[in-house]
């Protein structure tokens, strides 16, 4: 038993390096996608202190809208533009109808409001687009499909899906763009000011409402990109919602307020999950992917309650 736990998995890793590399790659891609969802959470949490539970459903909603437009005969790129437009309307609507009346409420109330928003969007999405899974329009959007096989040594072979490579590249581009946006532009600086202190930001003439609408829109764009990538890997359906729950341990690992944290957390969870499932999962009957991420996050939390990159929590009376 001890041999199975402590020695055998490592022997396997050494004996079949190609399989191990393949597992690492899978973990990397999954991690990138978790990180993208977590990024959407972090954006909104930083700017408004709202833990946006609806980010996961926004991913599904964006992907469904895109596919829905295309099904009704809109060309792929036009559908993309229209979806961006829809996400803008959603961001404005959420800010106007949900966030503005709830300003200054305790964070638990805001969290519950976003859970309510999740339910509304699930019902609305299924009402408009129907509940059955749909095919993502990968090729029409000009994203690569197919795969490349690399031979390693004499016996090994790893297969890389092109869409996964594209996902990694897009994630890197998005994170860089967001970094520049936050640090170099006027709006980005306003966003950071709001994140630091709402009242101070208000007093120097930054409009909170405008900033929140912008930040929800940015989160909507991140959701759209995530939705396209997840949708290309599997069908577009409300089952993707479960992915949103995966982003929560990622956030915990990285801290709620840190963009690098979201990425590092995503990668740790992605790697940990795939390696744990394939090398150790068999010992307990498999399927550990559903909870391993949470246990990893829980163990981290016990040692660092604010996450890896989070700001230190100071409590005062």
């Amino acid at each position: 038993m001890l041999y199975d736990i402590f020695i055998d998995p490592f022997v396997q890793m050494y004996d079949m390096p190609d399989f191990f590399l393949q597992v690492l790659w899978e973990g990397f891609v999954a991690g990138i996608l978790y990180a993208l969802i977590a990024l959407g959470f972090v954006l909104i949490f930083k700017a408004s202190g709202v833990f946006n539970f609806a980010q996961g459903i926004m991913v599904v909603f964006a992907a469904l809208t895109l596919v829905g437009f295309h099904e009704n005969g809109v060309p792929a790129y036009m559908a993309l533009v229209l979806t961006v437009f829809v996400m803008g309307i959603l961001a404005y609507g959420v800010e106007r109808i949900v966030m503005r009346p709830l300003v200054n409420q305790p964070e638990i109330i805001l969290l519950m409001a976003t859970i309510g928003l999740t339910y509304f969007l699930v019902g609305f999405g299924e009402f408009v687009f129907g509940g059955e899974p749909k095919q993502m329009i990968t090729e029409e959007l000009g994203l690569p499909t197919g795969s490349t096989a690399f031979e390693i040594g004499e016996r090994g072979l790893i297969i890389l899906q092109h869409i996964d490579i594209a996902a990694a590249v897009i994630a890197v581009i998005m994170v860089t763009a967001l970094g520049i946006f936050f640090n170099k532009t006027r709006i980005g600086r306003a966003l950071r000011a709001v994140a630091d202190d709402h009242q101070a930001a208000l007093s120097v003439g930054i409009s909170l409402n405008q900033i929140w609408a912008i930040v929800w829109f940015a989160a909507g764009l991140v959701a759209l990109a995530t939705g396209i990538m997840w949708g290309a890997r599997s069908d577009v359906s409300f089952a993707l919602e479960i992915v949103a729950f995966k982003a929560l341990p990622v956030l915990i690992l990285g801290g709620f307020t840190s963009i690098p944290g979201a990425i590092v957390g995503g990668l740790i969870i992605g790697f940990g999950e795939k390696i744990g499932e394939l090398y150790w999962g068999g010992l307990v009957g498999g399927g550990v992917e559903s909870w391993l991420a949470y246990i990893i996050a829980l163990v981290f939390l016990l040692f660092r309650p604010q996450g890896l990159f989070g700001e230190r929590i100071i409590e005062r009376i």
Partner: protein, 358 residues
């Protein structure tokens, strides 16, 4: 005018500290109990009992359980469904290990297992607070759900992977199993729910309940004033999980007859959480009102269009339910964050000063 405490003098501490010190409250409670114990069994048909009253009472009990943790002790939990599942599986195992034992005792004992597991998952609450804690309870939810699927011992190595309730008799009545009459089940569920609600009403206004509320309102201040956070929080987790476990066991034993792991998924956790929010955080009466609302609304939505002669597909009803519940949650959080319980308070105040506006 209709509801006024003026002139009701108490002449003993006992009368002053009664659960319902005001006459009108006592009358109201008596009417509710008479309706529940006499009127409904006398007039309701089987459909009303099995599809409305029994699930309503089960969910109300679960909502009370979550309300103790979230509403009174301030620890947000998203693992209610899994704790209910622990109760259900524990009750199932107990009845198959001790086939001759009284099934109601088994249902009540099963909550103990749920309480133990709840306390274990409550341990991180000492270091982890607020939103972070919500995620650790999600860990409980997914881990326990996985256990229900992957540990065949829990469902007695059934081929189907589901638990089925065996037939059990008590005092000559069939209490559980497919042949049990709805009226018998209704009385069992009603007695357990009412009993636990009564017990909790008393616990919550006593020392234990007050220490929970102190932790909720400000844990550091409570600690400085001599409330031990470890004991208090773990007790809240244990009591809450016990009640949820009993509710989960009742859900399969007296309502569904059979359950799969997916019956206790995260959807159930959210459903219970919504009952608590809409009913009012930190209110027992609110738990009943929230449960009634969340459970009966879809049933109404299903039948009202049919009565009006409009034909609506079943899926549309389901989607509409989702949208309405979601929108209502946001509406309530904005308009009345304390839920139905607060509306009831306002109504009482209006009755008190009637016919004057204030």
């Amino acid at each position: 005018m209709f509801y006024r405490e003026a002139g009701q003098f108490k002449t003993s501490y006992k009368a002053d500290q009664a659960l319902f010190p005001i006459l009108q409250d006592r009358i109201g409670m008596a009417v509710i109990l008479i309706i529940a114990f006499v009127v409904i069994p006398a007039f309701a048909n089987d459909f009303f009992l099995t599809s409305i009253m029994i699930p309503f009472l089960v969910f109300a009990l679960a909502a009370i359980g979550l309300n103790i943790l979230t509403g009174y002790c301030g620890q947000l939990s998203l693992g209610t469904g899994a704790f209910m599942g622990v109760g259900a599986y524990a009750a199932y195992k107990l009845t198959s290990i001790f086939p001759d034992a009284n099934v109601i005792v088994m249902v009540l004992v099963s909550g103990v297992f749920s309480a133990a597991i709840g306390a274990v998952f409550g341990l991180p609450s000492l270091r982890i607070k607020g939103l972070y804690l919500a995620v650790t309870t999600l860990a409980a939810q997914f881990f326990l759900e996985w256990c229900f699927i992957r540990i065949p011992w829990l469902y007695n190595y059934n081929a189907s992977g589901a638990i089925e309730v065996p037939r059990r008799e008590m005092f000559g009545f069939i209490v559980t199993g497919a042949e049990a009459l709805p009226i018998t089940r209704y009385f069992v569920v009603l007695c357990i729910t009412a009993g636990i609600a009564y017990l909790m009403a008393n616990v919550l206004r006593g020392r234990i309940g007050r220490s929970w509320m102190m932790i909720r309102d400000m844990d550091i201040a409570a600690e400085l004033m001599g409330v031990r956070p470890l004991r208090t929080k773990l007790m809240a987790f244990a009591v809450s999980s016990y009640i949820c476990g009993v509710a989960g066991a009742m859900m399969v034993f007296f309502w569904l007859n059979a359950a799969e792991p997916s019956s206790y998924s995260i959807r159930l956790s959210f459903q219970i959480l919504f009952m608590v929010i809409l009913g009012g955080l930190g209110s027992l009466g609110g738990a009943f009102m929230g449960a009634a609302f969340i459970w009966i609304l879809p049933v109404l939505l299903k039948f009202v269009p049919g009565l009006l002669g409009i034909d609506i597909a079943a899926e549309t009803v389901e989607h509409a339910t989702f949208m309405i519940v979601g929108a209502l949650i946001i509406f309530f959080l904005i308009a009345e964050p304390h839920g139905f319980a607060r509306l009831w308070q306002i109504a009482k105040q209006k009755l008190r000063v009637w016919p004057f506006p204030y």
